[in-house]
Structures are given as C-alpha cells and as structure tokens.
Symmetry: none
Subunit: 92 residues, 4 copies
C-alpha cells in the first residue's frame, strides 16, 4: 500500500511523491474531476511530514495536474485542455 520513498535518492521525497501521483493520475487511478487523497492520507501513505506532501501537491498544481479548493481538497484537471503552467506559479 504505502509506496516507498528513497531517502538516498537525489530526487527529494516531495518530488518522488509528485511522480507517484502523476503516475496515478495518468493511469486513471484518480479520474479527471475526482479528488486526490487528502494531505493527511498522503502523509500516512508515504510516511512523511505534512510539508512534504504539501510541496508535492504544490508541484502538481504548478504543473497543471490538479486544482486546489480551500477546505475541500485537490481535484484532477483535464490536463490536455490546459496550458502547461509548470514553474509559472500563478495557480491558487
């Protein structure tokens, strides 16, 4: 269940988690319009601190994979229809 984070990898944990989530979104595990797991669930699933999952989710948001609604969660976007915003840092 809990996928492994390699703390010796040059890729930081938040980036590894982001990659796992991108894989799940691409594979349709999390459908367009559906929410990804909550911060709390991701903390438990990957055994990391809140800030780490927050960084991972921020990466997904900046990359245009999800949008975040305060008090609700982060929802999968239909990425094909959106401009790639990676690095733009304009999303909420």
């Amino acid at each position: 269940m809990a996928r492994e984070i390699d703390h010796r990898s040059p890729s930081p944990p938040y980036r590894q988690i982001a990659a796992y989530l991108v894989a799940d979104i691409t594979a349709g595990v999390f459908a367009v319009g559906a929410p990804i797991p909550s911060e709390k669930e991701l903390c438990e699933a990957y055994g990391v601190a809140r800030n780490t999952v927050r960084n991972a989710v921020r990466w997904l948001r900046d990359a245009g994979y999800v949008e975040t609604v305060v008090g609700r969660g982060s929802y999968v976007l239909d990425r094909a229809s959106s401009t790639d915003k990676a690095g733009a840092n304009e999303s909420a």
Copy 2:
C-alpha cells in the same frame, strides 16, 4: 452584485469581506442604526460559507462598526461616539 473575493490574496476572505462592509458603512450604503445584510445574504453575495461571513462580522463588531442582536441581526453603530477598538482581537 457579488463582489469578488481573491483567494490568492494574503488577506483572507473574511478580512476582504469585512473591508467591503466597512466601505459600505463609511459610504452610507448601510446607515447608522440600520442592519447590515443577514449572514445568509452575505454568504450568497460573496459565495462563501457561513463561518467566513461570521468571521467578517465578528471583525466589524470587535472594531466597533456594528453591534449584533441575537435573533435580529447586526446594526451599524455611530462609530464617532465609540472608542476605537480595532486591533483588540486581530492577533491569532
């Protein structure tokens, strides 16, 4: 009609709503002695949850702009006649 809340602003939504209401009171849109809109109406006008408008109205109350009467509503005070309490409860 519904003024915009900027969810990306460093000022939280309840503070933005409070600022809009202060502007309306100062401009005389809501006269001294008259009620401001009900919590339900403010929810609809700004598209936020009730707790958010309650935080905004609490801010107005703490700042001396309105007084709240249970079961009735919040009424505009003649601010000139009251000590300025703004800032008393802004921390935390």
Copy 3:
C-alpha cells in the same frame, strides 16, 4: 482524564471547557509562561470538534488568561499584570 461536558447545560460546551481551563490555570496545573494543551489534545480530552475548543481558547484569550502564538501554542499569562478584559467579547 477527559472531564465531562454536559450537553444539556444552558452553558454551551465551549464555555464549560473554558471554565475547566481557567480552573486549571488558577490551580497552577498550567503555570504562568507554560503552554496549555494544544487544540488537538483538547479535542481528544473533551471529545469535541476543533471549532469548539477554538471557541474556548478564544474566550481565554479575550479574558486575558492566555496569549496565542501562531505555529506554537497558547501560553498562560500572569493575569495580575494585565487589565481584566473578561466580558469584552461575551456578547453575541
């Protein structure tokens, strides 16, 4: 351990929790300068939702019993050295 909240009392739960905390502060269970339990711990101790303990802590803050430091916690004040603010925000 978990003191009882009487949901049939005319005093709402947050006020009962505030009274328990005032008793503990007065009795020296929480010393001046020391933190009171975190919101999460109070939720578990009293079996209530977080908003309820937040209302209780807000009451303590308004009454001058504690000061709250964001990201840290709420610390017991030396009440003798502060003006009694109790009652300032009890209305509404």
Copy 4:
C-alpha cells in the same frame, strides 16, 4: 411527496408531523440507527416553519423515538429497549 397538514384539525401541526414520523419509524422507512430527515428537509416536506418541525422532533425525542446529536441530526432509537419517556423531558 409532501404530506398534507390539516390546519383546521384540533391536532396542532407539530403533532400531525410527529404522527407521520412515528408512522415512518414504525414502518421502517427510517431504520433504527438511521437519521430522520433534517429540520430543513422536514420544513420543505411539510411546508411549515422551523419551530414547528422542531416541536415535532422534540415530541419524538421526549417519547423515546429518536435521540438528537447537536450538529449531526436525530437518529432512530430501538424503542423496545428503552423506557417510555413521554412527558419526562429528560432527554437531550
């Protein structure tokens, strides 16, 4: 859908609604442990004011048909296992 309230009946509206709800509970429309409709839903279903449905639900509570949890709703009790408290007024 909305059952009729007879405003000319000697039985007041809240008592008629309580009777409808007792019938539904007895018939198993609302199962033991399940919630009855919210106050808002009952207002709409019967076309009456909030206070009226509140009186109806209070009657059910006093009669031991349901228990009310603040912030959650009113849940059907297994009446066979409880003493008939009608009129006792001890329930929450």
